[in-house]
Subunit: 107 residues, 2 copies
């Protein structure tokens, strides 16, 4: 039985955010995202076909939702469900350490 | 947008393992498990209808598989896919701290 580690194999070059699919099958995709100071482009909104459950594993970040002026700050262990088509963006991620997200895409 | 925290709300009474469903819908169930020194009863094997992806978030533990004499030790961040009907048990979990698991049950 082989295991992998969600906190390991951080890319040396973090110019771009890192997206890695851990598991993919009909109706579900589990993804690891590593950010370092990245945020979504100004004016860009994710508008997803399916629901997404997201867990912040390490680091710090904040999400913005188009329909809510309040940012949602996330610390390690924080998780939330982002319903399909709820337009959102990454407002900021920590610049001083890697932020590791676990995303479970559904539907 | 409300968030919850996977590391929070640890039951004060940890006589029994804690199982908490975070999200449940057809084909997927996301569950948090908190253990403290718990293990599966001797001779008991989980034999599950669906695949399970499991992430050890905090603590330390080991899984045993019926078809493999080697224990699979898990540290924070370690994850693995346990295929349906692959008989397994929790061999041990840390007695000195809570072990927090995230399980994604599929199918």
């Amino acid at each position: 039985m082989t295991t992998a580690n969600l906190l390991g194999d951080i890319p040396k070059d973090m110019t771009d955010e890192s997206f890695q699919t851990i598991l993919s099958r009909p109706g579900i995709r589990i993804e690891r995202i590593v950010s370092r100071g990245h945020c979504s482009p100004e004016g860009f909104w994710y508008d997803q076909e399916g629901d997404e459950w997201v867990l912040l594993v390490r680091g710090n970040a904040a999400l913005a939702f188009e329909d809510d002026p309040q940012l949602v700050a996330l610390a390690p262990g924080d998780h939330l469900l982002i319903p399909a088509h709820r337009r959102h963006r990454v407002a900021w991620t920590s610049e001083t350490e890697e932020t590791i997200w676990l995303a479970v895409h559904m539907g």
